[in-house]
């Protein structure tokens, strides 16, 4: 990884297809990293401004849904001078191919980054089988 790389501006991706929105306000797609090891799938998502109580993670029928609500930070008496980004709900869905052990899912939210560890069920873990000679 190039350590001295300059960070470029990436505009927040607003969700285009508003499927079943019941709450007003914009919805954004969080940036994620997903990686897989033999034991688990780990998902890291940038959700700045989301607090543990406003985050909901749902896994059913292999569909993982992450929804995070951001409350506005501005006080009512503040006036906008420059608005470069908007805040709103974060929403993203994934279809998981591996069978996940639902009881051991771990979620951690720190500094606006969600870390979700989805352990695979035991039988999905590859096991080396040694052939014994008779």
């Amino acid at each position: 990884m190039a350590e001295s790389k300059e960070l470029k501006v990436k505009e927040k991706q607003e969700l285009a297809a508003k499927a079943e929105q019941t709450t007003p306000g914009p919805t954004f797609t969080p940036d994620v990293d997903i990686f897989e090891t033999d034991k688990a799938i780990t998902l890291l998502a940038d959700v700045p401004g989301v607090k543990p109580k406003t985050l909901s993670i749902d896994l059913r029928d292999n569909i993982l849904t992450i929804v995070g609500d951001v409350e506005p930070f501005e006080h009512p008496d503040e006036e906008d001078l420059l608005v470069e980004y908007e805040t709103g709900r974060f929403y993203r869905q994934f279809t998981l191919s591996e069978v996940i052990d639902q009881n051991r899912i771990e979620a951690k939210l720190q500094d606006g980054v969600l870390r979700l560890t989805l352990p695979k069920v035991e039988k999905a873990t590859p096991r080396k089988i040694t052939v014994q000679s008779a």
């Binding site: 990884m1 190039a2 001295s4 790389k5 300059e6 960070l7 470029k8 501006v9 990436k10 505009e11 940036d31 994620v32 990293d33 997903i34 990686f35 897989e36 090891t37 033999d38 780990t42 890291l44 940038d46 959700v47 700045p48 401004g49 989301v50 607090k51 930070f73 501005e74 006080h75 008496d77 503040e78 006036e79 906008d80 001078l81 420059l82 608005v83 470069e84 980004y85 500094d111 606006g112 980054v113």
Partner: protein, 149 residues
């Protein structure tokens, strides 16, 4: 379909096709203007929102995954500079990545403020990945209530 519209259009043949083309071009221009980003974006990371009250300016930026130690904030007469490096710690070496959208790197940005500030009393907070800098205005640039005698 096209035929019907052409013949049914009053005055089509009397008008020059170029007039019609010009009209379409103007409509297209208007469409593109509406699509263009309505917000001024500086193109420098991080994107900030700037608000003000009578007492101070508030600068906010989204910096998920950063800690106070990664940030360097400096204030001068009428500007605040934010610089730092966003680090994404390396994970298990035998991990296979499916998606890699989060980015790491260095950044530096100077935000000019519309009025004089009090650089000694600038405060910064980093909470849930959101940086808030409270910049008090200098006495001279605060609005003053004037009573009419």
């Amino acid at each position: 379909m096209i035929y019907r519209r052409l013949t049914g259009f009053p005055g089509w043949f009397s008008r020059s096709p170029f007039v019609e083309l010009e009209r379409m071009r103007r409509q297209m221009d208007r469409l593109f203007e509406e699509w263009a980003s309505p917000r001024p974006v500086s193109g420098v990371f991080p994107l900030v929102n700037l608000t003000e009250t009578k007492e101070s300016y508030f600068i906010r930026a989204e910096l998920p995954g950063m800690t106070a130690a990664d940030l360097d904030i400096q204030a001068t007469g009428n500007s605040v500079s934010i610089s730092g490096e966003r680090k994404i710690p390396a994970e298990n070496s035998n991990a296979r990545y499916h998606r890699r959208e989060r980015e790491s790197g260095k950044f530096s940005r100077v935000i000019g403020l519309p009025g004089e500030i009090n650089p000694d009393k600038v405060e910064a907070r980093l909470e849930d990945g959101i940086l808030t800098i409270v910049v008090p205005k200098a006495e001279a640039s605060k609005p003053r209530q004037i009573t009419v005698k």
